[in-house]
């Protein structure tokens, strides 16, 4: 179906079903229960982040997963996309489509330039070049280009670029009738509008912005499957496997890698544009090199070079970040109440460092464990478990054999 083989079609529909039903899946506990407070994740902004970062990492995977070129500067494209979209909202109008298109175009152009320069080198040098260029973009966004006093204030520095009442908005209104800022919309459908469904004790929220992003994520996912299975994707895997052989086989590897770089840059720009479409505020911290590092982390967690890995990695990262940061000492005491008091206090004292504000630490440790013991990420972990339980589920997306 859709030009995919059977396995890929199944995979695609599973991801599609999961994302379209996410408001149910992520809200398994009745509203107001203590479990809900902890584990429910069906809130619009969180769900939006799942799919938007999914897009980002799917794109990153086209570069790193297929070619093996580790870019440490991908957050730059995310930031560039975010800024472009906000500018579109400021100057043209609040429809998200032009904003997203501009975000993709601008980040694509940047990716072409940055990629052209960085790809003159490979290996560590490539990583350091991307890192240096992205850091340069970040510094510029923070300083000269963000100085409200200067004439080229593109980013508004530390405050971040945001809408204001005196924006032009040629094809829209600068101010709404009641004097407020207009909201982002898709041909009139406000991104922040939600439909709430109350079933028994459960409350499900269906947010327009989420569904909009989810559908774009599914399109992005579909495109990435097509790329993985195309001759182009095969060439990229061949670059990763043996670049020397490629050259002596009559193929010019650089345009292949550059194309992958630009595609993944456009994906990142799209993600940035979507972030701004959900909340029209863009800040430079989105471009910092540690943000690039987080993209890498998500890709690795999920499974580099696999089809669903990026989606899983992005979801996992965001979900755990959310949960871990909500756990505090009293929650821990609740959970460990079955233990003798002394041990309980000791455990809480110990675990305290890994939850709440300490979630960075836990994710950092998890990331290290994955690299050390599970280089194929959670997808590989899943496969190993599946194998252990003897199910002959011939696994899927990592296998390079495209079955028909």
């Amino acid at each position: 179906m859709l030009g995919l083989n059977k396995k890929d079609t199944t995979l695609f529909w599973i991801v599609a079903a999961m994302s379209l039903l996410a408001p149910f899946i992520l809200n398994p506990f009745p509203e107001g229960s203590s479990l809900a407070q902890m584990f429910n994740a069906g809130y619009p902004d969180l769900m939006q982040r799942f799919v938007i970062f999914g897009i980002l990492v799917i794109g990153f995977n086209i570069l790193f997963g297929l070619t093996g070129y580790l870019s440490f500067g991908h957050a730059a494209f995310l930031g560039i996309g975010s800024y472009s979209a906000v500018w579109m909202f400021k100057l043209v109008g609040m429809n998200v489509i032009p904003a997203i298109l501009l975000a993709m175009i601008v980040s694509g152009v940047f990716a072409l330039l940055i990629g052209y320069v960085s790809l003159r080198r490979s290996g560590i040098y490539f990583s350091i070049l991307t890192l240096a260029i992205a850091q340069m973009c970040y510094n510029l966004a923070y300083s000269v280009l963000g100085n409200p006093a200067s004439s080229y204030n593109l980013t508004n520095g530390e405050t971040g670029l945001q809408l204001s009442l005196d924006d032009a908005r040629i094809f829209g209104e600068s101010v709404t009738a009641d004097g407020a800022l207009p909201v982002t919309n898709f041909f009139g459908l406000a991104m922040r509008s939600s439909y709430k469904m109350d079933v028994g004790g459960w409350l499900f929220t269906f947010n327009a912005g989420y569904y909009f992003s989810a559908i774009i994520m599914l399109i992005s996912f579909y495109v990435s499957i097509r790329i993985f299975r195309s001759p182009f994707g095969m060439m990229l895997r061949a670059v990763k496997s043996n670049q020397q052989r490629m050259n002596y086989t009559g193929l010019n590897t650089r345009p292949y890698i550059l194309a992958a770089f630009v595609i993944s840059g456009i994906y990142a720009g799209l993600a940035g544009g979507l972030l701004s479409s959900m909340d029209p505020l863009a800040g430079a911290e989105r471009m910092h090199w540690t943000a690039s590092g987080e993209i890498v982390i998500m890709a690795i967690l999920g499974g580099v070079g696999t089809l669903v890995g990026p989606v899983i990695g992005a979801g996992f990262n965001e979900y755990f970040k959310n949960i871990l940061s909500k756990i505090n000492d009293s929650v821990l005491h609740d959970w460990l109440a079955f233990m003798p008091d002394g041990i309980e206090n000791l455990m809480v004292g110990f675990l305290h460092y890994f939850v709440g504000k300490g979630w960075h630490l836990t994710l950092g440790i998890m990331f290290m464990l994955v690299i050390i013991f599970l280089p194929g990420g959670l997808v590989e972990g899943g496969q190993r478990i599946a194998k252990k339980f003897g199910r002959k589920k011939k696994s899927d997306e990592t296998s390079t054999t495209p079955a028909e």
């Binding site: 560590i124 070049l129 280009l145 950092g364």
Partner: protein, 343 residues
């Protein structure tokens, strides 16, 4: 003229830090072939060694002074550091005042220990893995280390002043015949520069004049041949990792008064240090030092108002710009050996 001298001086202290971190990075890369993204974290840990020693020295017990009252009218609580009661008031106070220099001694065993544990416990297992994996695992380690520091020391910078005698500045301009206050340079920055020069000199002397250093240098040039001679090069490389960690740590200890230690200072310095290494030439020790000072000074010049007026924002990007041009035009850097990591 005076402005130029001032900028050179201003570049020296940052340049010294860059040079010291880059030196360690290069030692590790040249000997073990590992790209260590956790090296910035070692620098940060060094700075927190100074913070820790200061905290230990100021550990106090509380007594009540009945002759004075606090604002509630109760007897005033007075904190007396233990060191003051053990060594006498003035000696104790001096110890506290000199916490940062004392932390040099305190940090060396700690840093070498951390270096050993890192190499034996983690990095060792990544020699055969791709460079990308090495980058990633050390990046993960850097995150973990910085978060640990944040957990125990909080997110705010912790001011850690230099000893009393080194506070204040020296007016260089006067001895050079300029007006008063034309070239003012803080004493501690002079100390930092001198200290770095000593450390750099010591590392080079160690590599140059000891048999241990000779073997390591030979190993950096051609690992296989040295291995064939039946010399256990790996053990020496582990020790070099410890030394590199100590160098980064010492750079951090002494940097504490210049920039109040915070948990992300390692990450901030890391990117720049990598740039320095690349500019100097991957695997070249003199290159790392030269590039460290050069870029530090260049950065200082770029932040002069006259220059910023011509090219706005140049101070923010000058180092990266230089690095990009160097990587593209001369991939082996300023002093890198031909054929080492040139691809």
């Amino acid at each position: 003229m005076d402005a130029i001298i001032l900028q050179i001086l201003n570049g020296l202290d940052k340049g010294s830090a860059y040079a010291l971190i880059a030196l360690g990075l290069t030692l590790i890369f040249g000997t073990l072939g590992v790209v260590n993204f956790a090296h910035g974290a070692l620098f940060m840990i060094g700075a927190f060694c100074a913070v820790t020693l200061k905290k230990i020295l100021t550990l106090s017990y509380i007594t009540e002074d009945p002759t004075q009252t606090d604002f509630l009218g109760k007897p005033l609580k007075v904190a007396t550091p233990y060191v003051q009661s053990w060594f006498g008031e003035s000696t104790g106070a001096a110890l506290i005042d000199w916490a940062v220099p004392l932390a040099i001694l305190f940090s060396i065993p700690i840093m070498i220990g951390i270096g050993f544990i890192m190499e034996r416990g983690l990095i060792k297992h990544f020699y055969k893995r791709p460079h990308a994996d090495q980058i990633l695992v050390t990046f993960g380690l850097a995150i973990v280390l910085q978060e640990l520091i944040k957990t125990f020391y909080g997110a705010n910078p912790i001011p850690t002043p230099a000893p009393e005698v080194f506070r204040g500045s020296y007016d260089f301009g006067v001895i050079l015949g300029f007006e008063a206050n034309a070239i003012i340079y803080p004493y501690w920055r002079m100390v930092y520069f001198a200290f770095s020069a000593v450390i750099i000199g010591a590392v080079f002397a160690f590599l140059q004049f000891t048999t241990f250093g000779m073997v390591v240098r030979a190993g950096m040039a051609d690992r296989e041949t040295v291995g064939l001679l039946g010399i256990n090069i790996d053990k020496r490389f582990t020790i070099m990792f410890g030394i590199a960690a100590a160098v980064a740590g010492l750079a951090g200890v002494m940097y504490a008064p210049i920039n109040s230690p915070n948990y992300h200072m390692g990450m901030d310095f890391l990117v720049l240090s990598f740039v320095v290494v690349v500019v100097g030439g991957m695997g070249s020790l003199p290159g790392a030092v030269l590039a460290g000072f050069m870029l530090g000074i260049l950065e200082a010049f770029a932040s002069m108002n006259q220059i910023k007026a011509i090219i706005p924002g140049i101070d923010q990007i000058i180092i990266y710009l230089v690095a990009i041009i160097i990587i593209l035009t001369r991939p082996r850097g300023l002093m890198g050996k031909k054929g080492v990591m040139e691809e």
